[in-house]
Amino acid sequence: MADVKIDIAAEFTGNKAFKQAETASQKMEKQVAKLGKQLLGVFAAGKLISFGKQAAKAFAADEKAARSLSLALANTGNAFAAIEVEKFIGDLQRATGVLDDQLRPAFRTLLTATGNVKKSQDGLALALDIAAGTGKDLGAVSMALAKAYGGQTTALSRLGAGLDKATLKTGDMDAIVGQLTEKFRGQALAAAEGYAGSMAKLAVASENAKEIIGKDLLDAMQMIAGKDGIGGATTAMEGFATQVGNAIYGVGVLIAKLKEIPGAGVVSDFLTAPTGALALLSMFGRNRKISSAGTPAQSPGQRKAIDKANADALRLQREQNSLKKIDNDNTTRKLVLTADELALKELEKKFDVERVGLYAALNQSTEGETKMRLLSLIAIHDQNTAMAGMIKKANEAEDAFKQLIEAIRASIRATLDRIAAELTQLQKLTTTGANTPIEQQRAVIREKLNLAMPDISALQNNLRLNGVGINTASSGSPTYIINASGIGDQQIASVVQGAIQDLNRYGNSTTYAGAI
């Protein structure tokens, strides 16, 4: 049944289908974006895995060739020259742009044939020149030379080096080598100078880099794989490469994004600068390699000696630890005893009759001086230096205050004395010649002065007694300004009250008529 209704004030809000479609499209958009990122990551990781595998293979092949050469040297009694030969091959590689992968087999071939390192080195150098001059393979040239050293010169004649048949027939290698050297001297170096040579050198550098990375990669994998070694870590290797790939990709994206942000170049520089974070990471890895690569192969005896030394060091450390523990225990016990001793002393103080008496007297005393004296006695009794210091400071403060009061009094006395002297002189001036008109006028003035001025000597005496200063004014009703520094508020109030009571008693009310 159709709805029979009237819709009032309808509003379009979109229905569920719209929302579902919108949500689905948003989800799809997110999924596509995610997939894109994942694909990028997969491609980047795939490339890295491929490179990692190649690097590891290159290193493995290089190491195999090096081991083979090392063994050949050992077999020919030239093991002592292993390092020198490796250096020679490395230098030759860099100079000629020929990979050590080719140089090592060629050198091994020559070494096997000659049994002499010096001859093999010369032979390899010659073989390189011949190979560069004739365009033949280094392996073939070195093999031909090796055979020639063995008396078979046929292969050498087929190199197209233009050797005399007569010379070849003699089988004299010195003559043959001399002739070949004359013909092909500097060919290898000349070949390495040109564009092709540069490319070859670049290829050498690239291969070397690959081998170095491969070695580090295998070392790192060995570190990750732990006791299972490389053999058990092939799965972990791919996972590791994926993670490294993602991390490298992430760092690349980060740097690219940082470069896009204005003002973020500082952060980018922080990452990529020669002293930046990546450089520091590289340095950290290099240092770790150096520190971890320093463990040479050890014989069972050496291993046993190292184990024993480690065990001794461990035992010594344990003994030190136990001694430290005993020391700590003693310290703790001492602290506990000190606390107990202090508690005992506090208890003794509570029942010390003399001390109790002093405190009772302190509580009952009201005078400041007595209190200070009692506190001093308590401090002496308790041997309390802190309290003694406080008492000393309080006494010093009191003395200083007294000195200040005395100085103020002296100043006021000096002022009053000076005024009294001036008044006396004035009185002397007004008491001479009483019969003259001037003298009469002076008498009037003197009388007025006597009326106006208070008794200074009485005031001085009063001041000396009570330390109260008085100023006089010259008007008809004198104003007394009382400096009552030594009198408290209560005393002033008491005096005022007394005065008011006296006035009331004498009939001089201070309030108006009708006031309550």
Partner: protein, 219 residues
Amino acid sequence: MPTEVKGGIELRKALRKFTPDLAKETQKEMAGLLKPITAKARGFIPGVAPLSSWGKPASTGKFPRYSAGEAKRGIGYKTTPSRPNRKGFRSLAQINNKSAAGAIYETAGRLNPNGREQAKRREVNIPGMNSVYSTSTGKNYGKSNNPEAGSLFIQALNAQGEIKNAYKRTEGEAGRASRKMKGRAIYRAWAEDQGKTNAAIIKAIEKSRDKFNKAVGYN
């Protein structure tokens, strides 16, 4: 076609959340505006069945029996937002005619003013039997034995109350004209109201919006 407002649903949500009293007040105001319409619509419901037999209990079939009380009670209003319809519209208030008999009285004849077309019949002569079969069993065709039944039913209803169209198509309005605003009870009442209640409800919503804005210190 109802007047479209914007933000009414959000306003109602906000009213309920922040000013529940104002939400109730708004609903009451809208109810006060809708009550006269529903009362008027109930007045259009016939007190007795338009066809005498429609009000009697049917022995067979599913056709609902007419009851004036039930039909009148079925007419009401709603002041809470509806669920979205197929086109995504929600209404803030509704007037509805819920009872089956009331809905029939409301809408019968608005699609087919002369009743449904009679289903075609076919005679099948089977030896020994003389049967007549209907060629269609669909709901768009009348199947009564009386071919005029549909037309007579509509005429009887029209005698009680004419179908009125509450939807006034404005000039130049896009889209197809709807026939779904036609009826004899609520639609008739709404048509006769001539949009006054609608305007009052819109105004009430706007008033509550202003009150809400004032209450929350928006303006």
